[in-house]
């Protein structure tokens, strides 16, 4: 039987009078990939930020490995140690080399020795084809390279769950492929992931479960074949038609 890594129950989040997430339920089993799709402003990023406790939910609850992380008594830092996040804008620290970016959390948070942290970092970099970039500063790398470094940085904490927030949205089309192939590899290795994305073809290939968000509500959820092939909701159909017209699927 599979274990559920992340579970959301009736999550609600609003900024002032704007309700961004409304009654969102979600279950992410171990070793599976969940893709969040939907127009900009539909709540995909907010959902990920809530899961990582970067935002406080107004109502509902979020569970990581069955433990409620939205409980005010939960140790937020301990929760974040078990979740890796990759942001749309990379968010690498510009004043540190690639190697220092990656080893910061293992050394300061996980109390790994410098040698051990660097060995692990170099191994991960090599696996993502970045072995020669360890000593570089982020601003000297291409967008695709920076984003792969950001993925390595997220992986270096050995997370239970990886959250990817539109990680290819800021990349040139020819650089998108190298980042997505890294994500495919991670899936092969059994990493549990939640991915907010505009890359529909990628979502269809890689996801085990697709959630279509619209106005802060999970309007449709299911296997990619169902959501993309035979959407039940009219709004999903309209969204997918727009995507097809834009040549993105």
């Amino acid at each position: 039987m599979t274990q559920v890594v992340l579970r959301m129950e009736a999550v609600r989040k609003s900024y002032g009078p704007t309700v961004v997430l409304r009654d969102v339920d979600l279950e992410v089993p171990q070793h599976t990939v969940t893709a969040l799709i939907g127009a900009s402003g539909s709540g995909k990023s907010t959902l990920l930020r809530c899961a990582n406790l970067l935002e406080e939910v107004d109502d509902g609850a979020i569970f990581l490995d069955g433990e409620e992380i939205t409980d005010p008594r939960a140790d937020q830092n301990a929760v974040r140690r078990r979740i890796g996040v990759v942001f749309q804008a990379y968010n690498l620290f510009p004043h540190m080399t690639v190697l220092d970016n990656i080893t910061l959390a293992p050394r300061r948070v996980h109390r790994m020795s410098r040698a051990q942290a660097e060995e692990q970092a170099r191994e991960l970099l090599a696996r993502l084809g970045l072995a020669d970039k360890a000593g570089e500063y982020p601003d000297r790398l291409s967008g695709g390279q920076q984003q792969r470094v950001a993925i390595v940085r997220a992986l270096a904490g050995r997370p239970r769950l990886l959250l990817l927030d539109e990680i290819t949205a800021a990349l040139d089309p020819e650089l998108v492929g190298e980042v997505l192939s890294v994500v495919r590899d991670l899936k092969e290795q059994g990493m549990t992931m939640v991915i907010a994305t505009h890359e529909m073809g990628f979502a269809r290939d890689v996801a085990d479960q697709v959630c279509f968000l619209d106005g802060g509500v999970v309007l449709e959820r299911g296997a990619p074949q169902e959501v993309f092939g035979a959407p039940r909701e009219e709004r999903t159909r309209r969204f997918l038609r727009r995507i097809v017209e834009a040549g993105r699927l």
């Binding site: 009078p17 935002e55 509902g60």
Partner: protein, 300 residues
């Protein structure tokens, strides 16, 4: 279980959602926990403050020399005599602060801009500004003050004032402009070059890019260090008393000189502190408001 219909919609802090949303029992429990935690934090803060203040109070009042110290530094009689004099003197400090502060901001900005000018044509201007900053930032204020206040009248120039307040103010402006110029320059340099590139790409000239895009961001970033310099200036306005102008510090000194009681100095010190606090709170409030407007929130 999640939506408890028995719980009335009464929490004032809730956003006015039009979807008939009712806070769940879970949320109410969470909010109760938050409130309990806040109450506990306040109690802990109050207790620790009480203990700290109590220990300090006992330590001071049980010092062997306390009765004598209290008589010399905290004498109510002399405080009453000193306060009106000190306040009258303070008026001079305030006027100096406002006039010098405004001039310093203008000169500091001009110096900073001169140092950021590019192109060989501007070399003399750039060099002059750099030399000025190097010199006046290194020169001790008191020496600058003595030089201006006593040196300028010694020249016996026609039409140049001998008023010690004006000359003292000029010395303050000379020194502080150099400091403030460096603060502005640091702010200008923290604005990312891409902002300038974006502005130039819209067809703005270099000066326009500076005026409308770079400076507004730079100035916002340096408000806290600028305030720091302003508070420092406020205290240094007291130094004009060496030229014979009666400001708050000098007024206190006069009374102390007659009575050999130091209470007037304490009064003057407290009056200065009282003057800076509202200024600090005001700028904190302004910067916080700017930040709120520009950035999205978050729990971290």
């Amino acid at each position: 279980m999640l939506d408890n219909p028995e719980v009335p919609h009464q929490d004032e802090t809730l956003p006015s959602a039009d979807d008939g949303y009712q806070p769940s029992a879970r949320r109410l429990e969470r909010e109760r926990l938050h409130r309990a935690r806040t109450r506990r934090a306040i109690a802990v803060a109050a207790a620790s403050t009480l203990v700290t203040v109590g220990v300090l109070y006992l330590a001071v009042t049980h010092a062997p020399g306390w009765p004598r110290t209290r008589e010399t530094f905290l004498n109510a009689h002399y405080a009453r005599i000193a306060l009106p004099q000190v306040l009258k003197g303070l008026w001079l400090n305030v006027r100096l602060l406002v006039c010098c502060g405004a001039l310093i901001l203008v000169f500091g900005m001009l110096l900073a801009l001169a140092r950021t000018l590019r192109g060989p044509v501007f070399f003399p201007l750039r060099a002059l500004a750099t030399a000025y900053v190097d010199f006046f930032r290194g020169l001790p204020l008191i020496i600058c003050l003595l030089g201006v206040v006593f040196g300028v009248p010694a020249l016996r120039l026609q039409g140049v004032t001998n008023n010690p307040v004006v000359l003292g103010g000029a010395a303050l402006v000379l020194t502080y402009s150099a400091y403030v110029a460096e603060v502005f320059r640091a702010g200008i340099e923290t604005v990312h070059p891409s902002q300038r590139a974006a502005a130039r790409s819209l067809g703005l000239t270099g000066a326009q890019a500076m005026r409308y895009v770079v400076l507004p961001q730079a100035v916002r970033r340096v408000v806290p260090p600028l305030l720091n310099d302003l508070v420092s200036l406020q205290k240094d306005t007291g130094l004009v008393s060496i030229a014979g102008a009666v400001d708050a510090v000098y007024a206190a000194q006069i009374i102390t000189g007659e009575s050999f009681n130091y209470t007037p100095y304490v009064v003057a010190g407290l009056v200065f502190v009282a003057l800076t606090i509202p200024m600090t709170r005001f700028t904190d409030w302004v910067t916080a408001r700017m930040n709120r407007r520009q950035s999205q929130g978050g729990a971290v």
